[in-house]
Symmetry: C2
Subunit: 436 residues, 2 copies
């Protein structure tokens, strides 16, 4: 059995591509001991095939045309170029030839996963995407296999390292959002255009994948509610701290009686909870199952090594199943019966949460009474309050409060009423509180 | 494909056995959607088959003879009785018939795993044991599959809930060991004979399994270094806190140039590390791989629901592979090439650690100088010191210190020298510091 050789075609030799080739080389002996197989990169594509890479490419056929790699004599196509359209075409080309397809591309799976799974159903190709969510953390395997006996009630993840780094620095060092973002860009954590990260798109891609696996619904990127961290101030971070919470940018998926909530937004997390203690660029995903209870998976969410670790885990899984009957392989989507539209993905107005509200109120007697009266009229009850005296010349005090659980549409009505009060200056800041 | 029926025989209908049957019933629809299979418990054994259980046993052939279940027409034998000898006989009987074998029994795998794997090699039976370590946390799957591309350098786990509960209470509430142990027994966390838990045997069983998976060495229970938490005082807990550490009972496996360290003992963990924040009965396992870096897996380490979750994950994995060619299945040990004795399991004298030392010293001038001089002569250098004034009538001050990394045999010599000093009263307390 140690003579089995698995032929790989690698699309993209950037950080992750080179890291994957390097891992397969560096750890070739231990991988052979575990799997009984040797892994050979037969062909690879890159935009610049003359560039020096951090891996040995001797014997690898290099090309600038990724379709040449897909069409080469390979067992598994490994897509590490990222993006939507070209990646989709390459995936379809591989899958339609019955070639197995391993990818780290969250955008591809979140947007085109349903189509890829449907095509793969016809040819029997395996589609594996562990590296698409939370980098090196084997959380897709946990959901699809390790916790497969459970019905999942909720998951919540810190699944974007850049936003977690920014929020950690804002809290620990009192720095401003813009200041930390600039540093994150200089450190290479954030792209030159950081919208995907700080605007929540990247986290939403990952959440959509986790939600589909957890609840068996189709990948539905358009159904995700997405809010970034651009509007968060150090004042919010500090007020949350005074109230006993840490501000984290979370991807949350919940199964409720009404349907599925799938939302990415800043959230106040109780300070005592383990996920509140996940700082810097690290990722973590909390999963609640009806038999297992609460579990958490923690690790590096990006970078060459961690991503290569996940890509190679998929390659080994796929390689083990080469030649298997279909009924002996795991369903690409995690659901042999197919994904089901039975559960509705809910709009934000249907969310039920506790909320953090921050208001600037005139520093006059009766102001707090007016605010609480408006909330009481809207059936929003208050769990905790912090009020700060006006600073400097300002005539306004800052009032921050945590509500009990309430429907979001109902809360929005209450916020409108608050903003209509003479004693309330400007807009009310509203953030959701995570409950686990 | 949804017509596939998998026939199960369950040995033991205690908490975990009944929980497993209940999970398969409660979640039957979602499991069928995921796997395309129905799972039927055909036969089950229990000491008392008339007893009411927390699951539906209609249609299940009940017997007091577990061998009848093994010999029944079942695809998978699920062993949930625990213990060494009978469990071993049942496992061998199942495996020798080519029946797949799923177990939650850490003692069985730690002591007899090598033999079971060797027998299974002959018949092609799958042996699955996710539930044997850390309850509901899919950490065996993470090591055997999710991180399979990595060479593991170190793992460290809180893998016994009872000891973690006791240490958490000692720290958070200043309670004594004996007091908390009595409560843990009353709560059902600890057995009437708590030796397995507080003495470290249970954790060692689990560590032996994790070590074998991480490094590819045979299961070697006799090679484990085991120290319990019986001797820990609240003074130690508090001194560790003053020095910036939390006391945890860890199972640690490390690959060093000299060989493999496999050790269960109380350890000082830097307070800022995530694993230091795992409190109460929860478990967590930290795994360091050469490409992924540091990952952590957290969840409930015991109980009917979490254990059933892991048992069922194994049942689903095994069911998916029914009828597979051997080369399409994962090796029971995680190593297709077999486990290798190449790496020596090291004795305690070969460990290299930082250490915590606590001494009672006469409260006279020059005492600290004498202690540091003895340590310097033994080439033990000091990283941090805390000294407490004598309490009440005592003529002795308490001195606690953290050393830099040093070889344990060398440290033992230094401790002997310290204990020979006139100014040192009684024995020196010595604990290891965990470094990740």
């Amino acid at each position: 059995m140690t003579d089995k050789t698995v032929r790989l075609g690698v699309l993209g030799l950037g950080t992750v591509g080179a890291g994957t080739v390097k891992l397969l080389q560096d750890n070739a002996e231990s991988i052979a001991a575990k799997t009984g197989a040797r892994f050979t990169v037969v062909a690879a594509s890159a935009r610049d095939i003359t560039k020096q890479r951090d891996c040995d490419l001797e014997g690898v056929t290099l090309t600038t045309d990724p379709f040449e790699v897909v069409n080469a004599d390979v067992d598994v196509v490994v897509e590490l170029i990222g993006g939507y359209d070209l990646a989709r075409e390459l995936a379809l080309a591989a899958i339609q030839q019955g070639k197995h397809f391993v990818t780290a591309n969250k955008a591809l799976i979140a947007k085109h996963g349903n189509e890829l799974f449907a095509e793969a159903e016809k040819t029997g190709a395996l589609v594996a995407y562990e590296a698409s969510v939370a980098g090196g953390i084997p959380v897709i395997k946990a959901l699809r296999e390790g916790l497969a006996g459970n019905e999942i009630s909720q998951l919540a993840g810190i699944i974007n390292g850049t936003t977690n780094f920014i929020l950690t620095e804002m809290r620990d060092k009192g720095r401003d959002f813009a200041d930390v973002l600039a540093e994150a860009q200089a450190l290479g954590y954030a792209e030159a255009d950081p919208t995907f990260d700080v605007g929540g798109i990247d986290a939403a891609h990952k959440l959509v994948i986790l939600t589909s696996l957890a609840f068996g619904i189709p990948l539905n990127f358009d159904g995700a509610y997405i809010e970034g961290i651009e509007a968060i101030t150090t004042e919010d971070v500090n007020l949350a701290g005074e109230l006993g919470y840490k501000l984290k940018h979370l991807g949350i998926a919940r199964q409720t009686e009404a349907g599925v909530e799938m939302r990415v937004h800043p959230a106040l997390v109780p300070e005592s909870h383990l996920i509140a203690k996940v700082d810097g660029v690290m990722n973590a995903v909390l999963v609640n199952g009806n038999f297992v209870g609460e579990t958490l998976y923690y690790g590096p969410g990006a970078g060459a090594g961690p991503t290569a670790s996940a890509v190679v885990a998929d390659i080994l899984d796929v390689a083990r199943q080469l030649g298997s009957a279909k009924e002996n392989t795991i369903a690409n989507s995690g659901y042999t019966a197919g994904l089901s539209n039975a559960a509705e993905v809910l709009p934000a107005e249907a969310f039920n949460c506790e909320y953090y509200l921050k208001l600037s109120v005139q520093d006059e007697s009766g102001a707090l009474a007016q605010v609480t009266s408006v909330l009481a009229d809207a059936s929003v009850s208050i769990d905790a309050v912090v009020q700060h005296e006006p600073k400097g010349e300002s005539a306004c005090a800052t009032l921050a409060l945590i509500t009990h659980e309430v429907n979001e549409a109902q809360l929005n009505t209450a916020i409108q009423a608050l903003e209509g009060l003479d004693i309330v200056a400007g807009n009310v800041t509203r953030m959701r509180v995570a409950s686990f």
